[in-house]
Amino acid sequence: MSEKTNDTMLTVDNLSKNFVKKLDLAGKIAQKLGSNIREEVVHAVDGVSLAIPKGSVVGLVGESGCGKSTLGRMIAGILRPTGGDITYKGVSITKMSGDEAARAALQIQMIFQDPFASLNPRMRVIDIIGEAPLTHGFTTAAEKDSYVCDVMKRVGLDPEYRRRYPHQFSGGQRQRIGIARALAVNPEFLVCDEAIAALDVSIQAQVINLFMDLREDLDLTYLFISHDLSVVKHISDRIVIMYLGRIVEISPTDELYADPNHPYTQALLNEVPQLEHRGRDYKPVEGEIPSPLDPPSGCHFHPRCPHATDRCATERPELREIAPTRWSACHLNDEA
């Protein structure tokens, strides 16, 4: 699944991550007393595969809890997969030497939603941005100051402020500090996890523009995770839609919006508020996002799907190619 070409930056093959929800004390006692209560397993990411072309922006969307952050963190090397494989520039991460793994870890950087939580409040900006490039030999102690100034200028921060602490900056500026910290080690690939979600509209626009400029200037590849479909639509070349730990559709952006294939994609796009869409008649949404602890059998979407058949309740639909560069995981495509 997902074409692999020479231009592929990163591929993910049948990747999974389970979290075990440990029993609390009451649970353990109940178990000792013979109750059949057990540890619960969340299949946060459940056998997903995708390919990210070099230089592209891939948007990853889906409702909260569907596994976006977990997938992003595995790709960024922060979280160890339970199963499956990630291949970076042709080399499987499981087969990398120590050196190769360290290099990949630098080349793939992650940018988080909450810039404040991810910045050490007791460090000055010059050290937050300059620490990693110094450690990894991108600069020297003597040149660190000018190195940091350059990076700050690149993200639109005034180098005058490099001796300040994070709390002395606004939310938008703190996000720029987070971006500068990531860029300081010359990454090739950025995983942005809800990186603009906490920002005001006018500041969001500034940071989205910054991401697009950096892509041009530095030839970056992005995995752009967001719950905001209009933002993802604006900056992504292709979009990956997840539902309850699985990918349900992958498509180039324009095709996805023009002709969504998967019934879940269709439902999701329908709900997205749009400026041009005035005086809407809202409709009640059928069903509920099921618990990831106990996902529905077969196709996870079947209890909410208007097209569900008996087969949908028993058989997991595979993600397969429905047109060049388009994939969808729905049994309806078998009949076509």
């Binding site: 400029d213 604006h234 400026l275």
Partner: protein, 334 residues
């Protein structure tokens, strides 16, 4: 600048709410006026710190020290609520005017079961309702905001719900007594789009069926576009533009409204740079003399050093700007 002039449910006139802090006096709401007619939904939009929540709190009398409503009137069915005795205000809040907060725990009592809270809310409004009927109505209300297994959920405590579910319970409680006025402060910001759609459906239905008026506070212009009849745009504690939703969104005349609309991704073609408003909102403690937007405004000149007043350069539109974009041909960002 009222949109439906025939006896509005709510009329806010020159509201002023200030916070007297050690660092100085913050004019969080500084001369805000608008009205909301029966069954009308008004979108109150603006970026964080622009005074949206304080406007909402001021209307329902929930501004705490160091804040204080220092001027203006809040006319609810013609009656001024500013300075109303606490007990009367509490009566109104439980019954005729409801607020839905960004944080549902502002509505929910953590130590009471959901059914207890819902039945209490109904009986406070109408003590003649039987407990049985009150329970049945509570169950229906939960079902309508998309809570599965409402019978079971009625017997739960707030902490047994996920954040999104808790917000839906708070919304169900706010809608219980079919209030005349609902002030909803970013209630769906943390929710997923399909759940948001469900809640917008319930809110819209209530307004259409029972003539409830609503102020929907949000930073999300696209939500307001789909839901509201009218819109008020706030900046630095003041309303900078107000009018009917289609008029304002299709022909914004205030430079800030135009900048805001221009920077929404949906308004720009894919992959292009977004129009961006330079800089950031000024601190209320440090406002420039004259128009608060001048440091970011492409049209600013000496005239803007004098605080602009609200004018009506087009029928039905309120604008606080010396140089509004009255030429329909002008490009956004010009």
């Amino acid at each position: 600048m009222s949109v439906k002039d025939t006896s509005p449910t709510l009329e806010v006139r020159n509201l002023q709410t200030h916070f007297f802090t050690k660092a100085g006096d913050a004019k969080a709401v500084d001369g805000v006026s608008f009205s909301v007619g029966k069954g009308e939904i008004m979108g109150l939009v603006g970026e964080s710190g622009s005074g949206k929540s304080v406007t909402g709190f001021s209307i329902i009398g929930l501004v705490d020290p160091p804040g204080n409503v220092v001027g203006g009137e809040v006319l609810y069915n013609g009656k001024n609520l500013v300075g109303l005795p606490d007990e009367q205000m509490r009566q109104l809040r439980g019954n005729r005017i409801a607020m839905i907060f960004q944080d549902p725990m502002m509505t929910l009592n953590p130590v009471l079961r959901v059914d207890t809270q819902m039945v209490e809310t109904i009986l406070a409004h109408d003590p003649s309702v039987s407990k049985q009927d009150a329970l049945a109505r509570s169950r229906d209300a939960l079902g309508r905001v998309g809570i599965p297994a409402p019978d079971e959920r009625l017997r739960s405590y707030p902490h047994q719900f996920s954040g999104g579910m808790r917000q839906r319970v708070a919304i169900a409680i706010a809608l219980l007594n079919k209030p005349d006025l609902i002030i909803a402060d970013e209630p769906t910001t943390a929710l997923d789009v399909t759940i948001q759609g469900q809640i917008l459906y319930e809110a819209q239905k209530l307004c259409r069926e029972t003539g409830t008026s609503m102020i929907w506070i949000t930073h999300d212009l696209a939500v307001v576009a789909g839901l509201a009849d009218s819109i008020c745009v706030m900046y630095g504690g003041r309303v900078v533009e107000q009018g009917l939703i289609n008029d304002v969104l299709d022909h914004p005349v205030h430079p800030y409204t135009r900048g805001l609309l221009g920077s929404v991704p949906g308004a720009n073609s894919r992959g292009t740079r977004l129009y961006q408003i330079p800089g950031m909102a000024p601190s209320l403690l440090n406002l420039p003399q004259g128009c608060a937007f001048q440091a970011r405004c492409p049209r600013a000149d000496e005239a803007c050093l004098v605080e602009p007043q609200i004018t009506e350069p087009i029928a039905g539109r309120g604008v606080r700007c010396c140089h509004p974009h009255l030429n329909a041909e002008e490009e956004i960002g010009a």
